[in-house]
């Protein structure tokens, strides 16, 4: 299996006044195409930071990120958004939908930025919302939906461009157990069907059990890296 993402010697330091915080310390990792990777770890261990750097949202202090063969560090800041739009989808703990737009408009947004024709993108957005079970909420705004529904909209938005990689930062963090497993069911089904690589940060071991591979982080280091088979054995 070829690598979808490869990170080499990634280090990220933040300066906070006089203090220098090392969020990531010389981390290397390879993620295969179609793999579902789960990142576990205590708060402040650098999970989000690593996710952001892999997605090109932040630049590392040292080290490099390759998406397939493309070196993100060499990419111009200007081209980053277009690259993300084409190859990546994002899901966040607090959904991050645009409050003034309806479900269907929110889902259409990546297509709008891509310059798609109005008719075509509305159809695609509608189809996608139907697939995540929101056929009755197409015209609702985020404030008119429950957390679970909003997260489904956000999943639809992440998948609308048929991305190669989906990044999810604690997507079930604000949801109850039942809704969480619903969301995970939808997401994993979609991702597996299209062979999309999924990288997910979570605190929830239950959620981690969906993953092909789990890594555990402490203080900017990866201290554990387990494949699914191994996880199953432990149980």
């Amino acid at each position: 299996m070829s690598a979808m993402i490869r990170i080499e010697g990634l280090t990220k330091k933040y300066r906070l006044g006089q203090e220098i915080i090392t969020a990531l310390d010389n981390v290397s990792l390879e993620i295969a195409v179609g793999e579902f990777l789960c990142i576990l770890g205590t708060s402040g261990s650098g999970k989000t930071t690593m996710l952001h750097i892999m997605a090109g949202l932040e630049r590392p202090t040292r080290g490099s990120v390759f998406i397939k063969d493309i070196n993100l560090s060499k990419m111009k800041e200007k081209n980053m958004p277009i690259f993300r739009r084409k190859y990546m989808g994002f899901i966040f703990q607090s959904y991050h939908l645009i409050p003034s737009l309806t479900a269907i408009e929110n889902v259409s947004l990546p297509l709008i930025f891509g310059g798609a024709a109005t008719k075509e993108r509305s159809k695609r957005a509608r189809d996608m919302l139907v697939q995540v079970g929101l056929q009755d909420r197409l015209k609702n705004r985020p404030t008119e939906m429950s957390g679970g529904q909003q997260q489904r909209v956000s999943i639809a938005r992440a998948l609308i461009n048929d991305p190669k990689i989906v990044f999810a930062d604690e997507p079930t963090g604000n949801l109850d157990t039942k809704t969480s497993s619903e969301i995970m069911g939808i997401l994993t089904k979609k991702v597996k069907a299209s062979g999309t690589t999924l990288i997910m940060v979570t605190h929830d071991l239950e959620i981690a059990s969906y993953a092909d591979r789990v890594i555990r982080m402490v203080d900017g280091h990866i201290i554990e890296d387990k494949r699914r088979s191994v996880i199953s054995e432990e149980r």
């Binding site: 949202l57 958004p81 277009i82 739009r85 703990q93 991050h96 409050p99 737009l101 709008i112 109005t118």
Partner: protein, 461 residues
């Protein structure tokens, strides 16, 4: 991102903050209105001046005169070139000149039936009269080959009084009698005979003319004059001056030999020291611009000229300055409105940091973000421009109504022209300019939105 989506997204975010959008737009409305109204006043003023000047002389006519040429400070430079037939030919060959007519001027006492009165005669080239901006209200203009005919202005008839009346006047009836005389119908003179008596030393001769046309226009420079073919006038002139200075048989000879007048006159001009020079030469051009150009060319040739177009140029220079000042005052208001737009946009970006960040994360390019905020600012400018324009029309209408009422009290009979005029170009200019102002005001906020880091937006959950 296609344009429709762009407009929709931007319109949507403006609509979301209605009150603020309306207040900001109001600033632009006031700014646009003040610019448009100020400029419309300047334009109205300009047009009024132009109308006034056109009453007193055509803007396409140049008068080439005798006399000294003065420089800009009013110091005499030199004597203008002689106004003879060579000059006429020279003027005729200038670019943009439609027609040229030499002119003699001659005043005297005239009679019509039992009435008498002073009359100012202007002799011009009969064949070119129709090209010199004359229009006949009744009858016709002078034509080639005309002899002993006359075309007169509308007011000429009022010069004539009954002899009995004049005698009364002389006895001291005074002005009241004269004032009480009714306006006479100018058409009364058509096809009538007006004669002028010229006294030379021992001779007296009567020159008779048939009125063939009445000119259009009241209270213009034409309306008090009588126009006759130049050869006729020359004969009268020669008779007058020869009778006084020379033998009378010359006069008689000339009376017989009408046909040779022109050759005789050109011969004499060489010997008789300019006394045969024309009083002035009229030059007609196509339009004001050509008139101004031709006037300059004629000046450069060394002639002394006078034209309404030249006067207009000076006046227009002044009114352009006035317009610039008025426009400047209006612009200050719009500048303040522009600052308002910038301020609103910056606040809006501050509030929407998260939203902008999300858009960037999910694939909005720098260009998209830039365009979105510029469009918002431009939309405010556009709305302000459109409503400001509507508002301007209302204000302009009110100003014109008020000023019309005011002016009608002051002067009788003068049709009140608008003092606030909004031409089509100003309409377009106003809308485009307010859009431009909006866009300019949006540049900095849009730039800030582009610079905004997406991570801060999505990190602070």
């Amino acid at each position: 991102m296609n344009n429709l989506d762009l407009l929709q997204l931007s319109g949507n975010s403006l609509w979301r903050r209605k009150v603020r959008t309306i207040l900001t737009t109001l600033g632009v409305i006031i700014g646009t209105t003040s610019i448009v109204v100020m400029l419309s006043l300047g334009i109205g003023l300009n047009e009024m001046q132009r109308e006034n000047m056109e009453r007193w002389g055509s803007l396409t006519m140049i008068r080439v005169q005798q006399g000294m040429i003065f420089d800009a400070e009013g110091n005499p430079l030199k004597e203008g070139k002689q106004l003879n037939d060579e000059a006429v030919d020279e003027l005729r060959s200038i670019d943009g000149v439609l027609a040229v007519s030499p002119v003699y001027n001659f005043g005297g006492e005239a009679s019509y039936g039992r009435k008498r009165g002073g009359l100012n005669l202007i002799g011009l080239d009969a064949s070119s009269m129709n090209q010199l901006e004359f229009t006949a209200e009744q009858g016709r203009l002078l034509e080639e080959g005309d002899r002993n005919v006359m075309v007169i202005g509308r007011e000429v008839i009022n010069n004539f009084r009954d002899e009995a009346f004049i005698r009364q006047m002389r006895k001291g009836m005074g002005m009241e009698g004269m004032m009480s005389q009714e306006e006479q119908d100018p058409g009364e003179l058509l096809n009538q005979r007006i004669s002028m008596t010229i006294n030379a030393r021992e001779n007296k001769r009567i020159f008779g003319f048939t009125v063939v046309g009445i000119l259009e226009g009241e209270r213009t420079e034409h309306s008090y004059q009588a126009y006759i073919p130049i050869d006729d006038l020359k004969r009268m002139r020669d008779f007058g001056s020869n009778g006084n200075s020379r033998s009378s048989n010359m006069v008689i000879m000339e009376g017989v030999a009408h046909s040779r007048v022109s050759t005789a006159s050109s011969k004499r001009s060489a010997t008789q020291q300019n006394s045969d020079d024309y009083d002035y030469i009229l030059v007609r051009t196509n339009n004001v611009e050509q008139s101004q150009k031709a006037s300059q060319v004629i000046k450069d040739l060394g002639y002394n000229t006078w034209s309404m177009a030249d006067q207009l140029e000076g006046i227009e220079k002044t009114s352009r300055t006035i317009q610039a000042i008025l426009g400047g005052i209006g612009s200050i208001t719009l500048l303040v409105a522009a600052l308002g737009i910038t301020n609103t946009m910056i606040m809006s970006i501050y509030e929407r940091t998260r939203e902008i960040g999300i858009m960037k994360v999910i694939g909005a390019s720098f260009h998209d973000i830039y365009k979105m905020f510029l469009t918002e600012a431009g939309l405010i400018g556009f709305l302000g421009g459109i409503f400001g324009l509507c508002f301007s029309y209302i204000v302009s209408y009110i100003i014109n109504r008020l000023s019309a009422g005011f002016m009608n009290q002051g002067m009788v009979g003068g049709e009140a022209s608008s003092i606030s005029v909004i031409p089509v170009w100003l309409t377009l200019f106003a809308v485009l300019f307010s859009i431009l102002v909006g866009l300019l005001a949006g540049i900095y906020p849009a730039y800030r939105a582009v610079r905004l880091s997406p991570i801060n937006a999505i990190r602070n959950e």
